[in-house]
């Protein structure tokens, strides 16, 4: 298949238009309605009106109350732009409404000589980091931003990495050297300057202590830096500093074939394993138009839920460890070992199986897999009960966690909090129920909820979620559909091998797809999944090539970290540590 046979005109899909009446006052400001495979309206709007539009949408009776994502695309090299407004750089705003269970993407076209958007932080507080990210990655200016600085790259960095004219390979740069002077400059750039953040150095004649928590600190859960402004042990304010784990996954996606990017996704949320493959392959399958067999869907659900349990067990151990309980982490790790025995038996790998494929999974389930999985399913419930009895019902744990670092649903939505942390506030929003994918609609399970949105609820909720995941896996074991483990589709990669050696046509397809990778029609697609830590999504832009033109990876941990100062102001250092433990983040998931 070559590019000239590709149908280059994306067709209009149902759901591409906003609800009638929603944007009546802004009819002139909507420049274009773009048909995509994102499953939601994608509207190009005038830059001058973006703040008003967002405010209008946020003030609806059933409001679009979460700024789910905000990023940009460098459009300068995109060849298939049929009917799209002229744009060198496009900034997009992805809004989500929990009440409507609907989304909306607004796009703003920018010219290279006037590269700036107005800041929307006055409408959505969590736009702050996203706007810093588009400045950092694309050099898109944000007027009216309270603190427009690089966020993922070091402050001393030159260039904007996600621009198409910025090289992706180390071989395109001069060899890296670091002199003693260079090191001093870098070190100096790391020095925290309270004035730059509008912070006071003293109050009533008493100096504050500015404490660097991280990037190396036992409770920072990775290379994460948090600068605390302390009055005694009270956290007056704090500034999270991220980017130490940035590997440029989005840039790498633009030079890997659709197929060969799959292993990179495993390393986004590195405790989530194949859970990361899921939104990516689902989004690619949307672009390719592949409908996978039921067996594939069920296998994917089963393995994704295995990894949810695995990730939650890691969470539970470290969460209790952060509260000062030393032993539970060893117990949960021995449980995780049992989970890994199942995962290893089925996928052949442990942490990063990269096991899902475009149009299927890598292999069929091995013989005797039911027994393997059943062993784990029988093992876990008494263990979970034990954790509750020994820890969650312990008076010291309760005293450390109840009503600590609590936030309500409105605050959670304002900051873009999703997943268990959102449900701990009582908001019933689980994509597996609300927008079932990969066959979740066929499973019988509950969505655990809590009320207070505090550290305790976030811990207990994850134990309850593990029970539900066990339930889902049990149903997978009981009702695994028969059939193929790969879709019978020309774009399935790698194609089913069985017929390859008999037909020259299949052999050619196989060869092309394995050597070049599949060519996908130009279009845009998006898939959100309820990942281990919250909603994870891949927003893919295909330009009719073997590689993605733009891969936007929206991860849950990024907004969760941005929320820390809003939750922790006025708390104590031990509360902050408890909160950090309860968020359940990994820095790879934040920095990508």
């Amino acid at each position: 298949m070559t590019t000239d046979t590709v149908d280059t005109q994306p067709r209009d899909n149902p759901g591409s238009h906003p609800e009638p009446g929603l944007l009546d006052n802004f009819r002139e400001d909507i420049v274009h309605v773009q048909p995509t495979l994102a499953g939601m309206p994608v509207l190009w709007v005038r830059r001058e009106r973006i703040v008003d539009l967002l405010r209008h949408l946020k003030e609806q009776p059933a409001p679009f109350n979460m700024l789910y994502d905000l990023s940009a695309v460098d459009e300068r090299l995109r060849s298939h732009r049929h009917g799209l407004p002229d744009s060198d750089f496009t900034v997009f705003y992805h809004l989500l409404s929990v009440e409507r269970n609907e989304d909306l993407i607004l796009k703003v076209a920018l010219r290279e000589d006037d590269l700036s958007v107005p800041s929307v932080t006055s409408v959505f507080a969590n736009a702050n980091w996203y706007e810093r990210e588009i400045w950092d990655m694309y050099g898109v200016g944000v007027s009216g931003h309270p603190h427009l600085q690089r966020i993922l790259m070091p402050p001393t960095w030159h260039g904007h990495p996600l621009r198409k004219d910025y090289p992706a390979r180390a071989t395109e740069f001069d060899p890296y050297t670091l002199t003693v002077e260079g090191q001093d400059v870098e070190q100096e750039a790391m020095r925290f300057d309270p004035e730059a953040w509008g912070m006071q150095r003293e109050r009533d004649g008493a100096e504050f202590m500015f404490l660097n928590l991280g990037p190396n600190h036992p409770s920072a859960h990775g290379a994460f830096r948090l600068v605390l402004q302390l009055d005694g042990e009270e956290v007056v304010d704090c500034v999270p500093d991220i980017g130490y784990h940035h590997r440029g996954a989005e840039k790498m996606a633009e030079r890997q074939s659709w197929h060969s990017f799959i292993p990179y996704t495993d390393r986004i949320d590195y405790t989530g394993g194949v859970m990361n493959n899921l939104p990516y392959v689902l989004a690619v399958e949307k672009l390719a138009g592949i409908e996978v067999p039921d067996r594939v869907k069920t296998i994917r659900v089963m393995m994704a839920e295995m990894f949810r349990i695995n990730s939650h067990l890691l969470f539970l151990g470290t969460y209790l460890q952060d509260l000062g309980a030393m032993s539970p982490v060893f117990y949960t790790f021995s449980d995780r070992q049992r989970a890994y025995e199942v995962i290893e038996g089925i996928t052949g790998f442990r942490m990063h199986p990269a096991w899902y494929r475009i149009g299927g999974v890598a292999q069929d389930l091995p013989q005797g897999w039911e027994k393997l999985v059943q062993g784990f399913l029988d093992w876990m419930p008494p263990r979970l009960r034990e954790y509750e009895k020994a820890m969650m019902e312990n008076a010291l744990v309760r005293e450390r966690t109840r009503h600590v670092a609590a936030f309500n649903t409105a605050e959670a939505l304002e900051w873009g909090v999703t997943g268990p942390n959102l449900r701990a506030t009582g908001c019933n929003f689980d994509l597996r129920k609300q927008r079932p994918y990969s066959g979740y609609e066929n499973f019988d399970f509950e969505v655990p909820l809590a009320e207070n949105g505090d550290v305790f609820d976030r811990g207990q909720l994850r134990i309850d979620e593990m029970r539900q995941s066990l339930r889902i896996i049990q149903q997978c074991v009981n009702h695994m559909p028969a059939g193929d483990y790969k879709a019978d589709h020309p774009l399935t990669t790698p194609p089913p091998r069985e017929r390859m050696l008999q037909h020259i046509e299949t052999l050619i397809t196989h060869f092309l797809q394995v050597s070049w990778g599949p060519v996908l029609k130009p279009n845009e697609s998006l898939q959100m999944v309820e990942a281990t830590k919250g909603i994870n999504s891949y927003y893919l832009t295909s330009d009719g090539n073997t590689m993605s033109y733009r891969t936007r990876i929206r991860t849950p941990s990024f907004p969760h970290l941005q929320q820390i100062p809003a939750v922790m102001r006025g708390g104590f250092v031990p509360d902050l540590i408890a909160h950090l433990g309860s968020i359940d983040f990994v820095m790879a998931d934040v920095d990508r």
Binding site: P218, S219, L323, A325, M326, S327, E399, D575, I577
Partner: protein, 325 residues
Amino acid sequence: MSWWTPELAAIVWAMFQALVILLGAVLLGAALTVVERRLLGLWQDRHGPNRVGPFGTMQLVADMLKIFFKEDWIPPFADRPLFVLAPIIAFASLLLSFVIIPITPGWGVADMHIGLLFFFAMAGVNVYAVLLGGWSSGNKYALLGAMRASAQTLSYEVFMGLSLMGVVALAGSFNMRDIVNAQEGFWFIIPQFFGFATFFIAGVAVTHRHPFDQPEAEQELADGYHVEYSGMKFGMFFIGEYVGMVLISALIVTLFFGGWHGPWLPPILWFALKTGFFLVLFILLRAALPRPRYDRVMNFGWKVCLPLTLINLLATGAVMLLIGS
């Protein structure tokens, strides 16, 4: 042999005893580092150090060799004299307290009239180790640790003293041997249960053991006051903590559990068994409990333990007056 007088023999014998007890305390403290890791391993479904020698018994030797040969680094930003002094205080103060412990009827270093008061004094001195160490390190985490340590120790030393006054009243003496001898009939744990409970809590706090390891609080302060220490200076803090554990366990045994008293077995074994029991309890506490928030620890000290010790002392006094009259 005119120079070999009975007085000289007594002195030599006393010195020999002191030396044995000193070495015993230090070696026991050092050995505990390995015992603790093995026990934690046992309770946490893992092996613990089991590679050096049969069943890991030589781990202690390996650790000692390693720590002796480690670079003894003093940070350039530290206050040098205090930085060096702090671990010496930490190690010496609790070790010195061993002189008051009567191990068996015949063994013990000093038979002081002020026995218990000497221990209080040494525990008071011990605070300076953490305070000076944290202060002189020139590190913010160490400073926070030192701050916590001083607050915690202030709160807990107050009622630690009071918690033992009931025992002193019952025995009518500060002398440790008198106290042990007074328990020949029944152990003081029975009339002084609240005294025991509060003293045990205070003892855990004084040795900075979990769950009262607020000054170190690995998850929060990244080891707090001794974060800048390395080599043998760290070793002295480290072993000092275990020596403290041995001391508190031995004190509990002496003050509340009849010291060397017990049927059938020789006194030294009774003393060792009882002390060992409390050492294991110390370790079990660490394996089992999360850490409370440090302001709650203060509250608990002032609002629960202090009133409890005062009531206990009053009740003890009242009962003794009643019986006496």
